[in-house]
């Protein structure tokens, strides 16, 4: 396991390099000069040159990348051009919100999704299976801003159970978590169900029946365990989705977070923030897949031995 861990960790290096290069490159394709945005109201060419030099925007891209990467390794993502703060502190201020929303949504998706998927498989082809699987599918097929607005209307306005928006109290998290999480529930439940059905078809499960185990023992003790392997991978991958993909939800619920930080930075062409956010999300995704893979390895000896 330790060897696997080290190998898996080393694997992150090239991934990180490619990812950071892509992030860096994307940002420099964006038209609309950040300097122009700072110079909204008539100003001199000198001031323009001064600002350009200050932010190093006049140097060749490769050099900018090198300098940027070097600073990244020193934990410095530069200062925001428009917001005039260290990008790191902006990200740190927003990260907890993203993590809370993402983490809870993920936990919600995972627990409810797995439970529904497992129940649907256990009662396969029953009315429960069909209706519940179809209903949760809706969670993933409705645009989530729409779902968010409906949630606000129903649970905040009509019922008054939760605040409409904001991030000032813990209960303000409930609706956003539900909205983000519902999409995940459908996904996880479907993956769980498909994986369980597939596992249930395998020879060894047949042998478990032949051994005299009850259906419940087989499904909970063996089949579900196997089905968790793909689920864990998906959950790992989804960290990127919930941390960054919650943009719309952060917007609708007027919540802070990396997504909304990124959106406003995109609107203002604040390069360092865009880079920082994308980099953070990339790292979150990398760590997510790492955690997913490690969890898989912990659960599956074949992966530890590199047999799969």
């Amino acid at each position: 396991m330790f060897g696997y861990f080290i190998r898996r960790l080393l694997l992150l290096i090239p991934v990180f390099l490619v990812m950071s290069a892509v992030v860096f490159a994307i940002v420099h394709l964006v038209p609309g000069d950040p300097i122009d945005n700072m110079l909204q109201i008539g100003s001199s060419p000198e001031r323009r040159a001064e600002l350009t030099a200050k932010f190093g925007l006049d140097r060749p891209l490769v050099v900018q990348y090198g300098v940027w990467l070097d600073r990244v390794f020193h934990g410095d993502l530069g200062d925001a051009i428009i917001l005039k703060q260290p990008v790191v502190s902006l990200i740190l201020a927003n990260l907890p919100h993203s993590l809370a929303l993402g983490g809870l949504a993920l936990a919600f998706s995972a627990s409810v999704g797995i439970a529904i998927g497992a129940l649907a498989t256990f009662f396969r082809d029953s009315w429960f299976d069909r209706s519940v699987m179809t209903i949760i599918l809706m969670g993933a097929t409705v645009p989530n801003f729409w779902l968010g607005l409906l949630m606000i209307l129903v649970f905040a306005v009509e019922l008054g159970w939760f605040p409409v928006s904001g991030a000032r109290s813990a209960d303000a998290l409930v609706l956003p978590v539900l909205t983000v999480g519902l999409g995940g529930v459908a996904l996880i439940a479907r993956v769980t169900r498909a994986a369980m059905l597939e596992t249930a078809r395998q020879d060894f499960v047949f042998m478990l029946h032949a051994k005299g185990l009850s259906k419940r023992q087989i499904y909970l003790g063996h089949v579900l365990r196997h089905a968790l392997l793909p689920v864990v991978t998906i959950l790992g991958l989804k960290i990127g989705w919930v941390v960054g993909g919650a943009v719309t939800i952060e917007y609708v619920f007027a919540r802070p977070g990396l997504g909304s930080l990124l959106i406003s930075a995109l609107n203002q062409r604040d390069y360092p923030i865009i880079q920082g956010c994308l980099l953070m999300l990339g790292i979150a995704v990398m760590l997510g897949t790492l955690v997913g893979d490690l969890a898989q390895a912990a659960m599956d000896p074949r992966i530890r031995d590199g047999m799969r």
Binding site: R7, R8, L10, L11, P14, G306
Partner: protein, 324 residues
Amino acid sequence: MSDPMSAPILRFDGVSRDFSAQNGFFGRKRTMRAVDGVTLDIPRGKVTGVVGESGCGKSTLARLALHLLKPSIGHVYFEGNDLAGLKPAALRRQRRHMQMVFQDPYSSINPRFSIRDAVMEPFQVHGIRHTPAEGKERAARLLEMAGLDPQLAEHYPHQLSGGQKQRVGIARALALEPNLIVLDEPTASLDVSIQAQIIALLADLKSRLGLTYLFISHDLGLVRYFCDRIVVMYLGAAVEILPSTDAPHRHPYTRTLMESAFLPDPERRRAVTRLTGEIPSAFERPPGCAFATRCSFASGRCYAEKPVLLTTGRHAVACHHPLD
């Protein structure tokens, strides 16, 4: 062996093939030798059988024979030409003369091809054009040759049984009138009654078309029935070459193999020679004889020194303590 026509059609000259397996990007890179220094002549017009346990490198040898895999060491000569020395286009032309029938008939035909497409593909690949009528006629003749109803030409693979598919595979191999056909366990996935049919067909074709077969199988009984010579492989190496099916075997492994085969005769029951010890991993090949760990005759020398294949007459054996 002096007659030029009796020069071997195919020659393996010290052929080895390595595979490397790597776990991920930074994983340990491990190299295994699937075929280990095989030197072998395949005489024209004969059936050369290759037997050995699963994973001993039989299929790899078959692929090396047709240059579907490149040897890591050594050379393969077909009709005197080193296949590795050929340009890709020349190699493709050479392939007309050597064909292969695969172990698994179920996946050896593209599911999107009709049977006609499948047997006509060799012509298409080699730019041999037919009018539709000619094509139909040609496909029909090929199918007939393989003992199939020509009407099957319009069918698709999923509508055929395993035995039928294997016959399609044979028809396809025959299309370009090759000299050498490599048969990689062509009946392993078929029922006995079908297996016998296919073997009978192969025997018939051989005598009619003067083909040379390299017949790979794990079924000793079948090899003994069908082949003229038998090559016994163990862990990638040829350990014994029997010039005929009734030649006395001299390698302890060959004996074990013979004795493990179940005779279809309840009157001749016999006790099994129980092998102890494990098959060594091809990744960590022992320095000496690969069979030593399981051999009851093994001596210290067997563990230390690798026996070479020594030819006496037409019989060759690689053993420090050959049986008599």
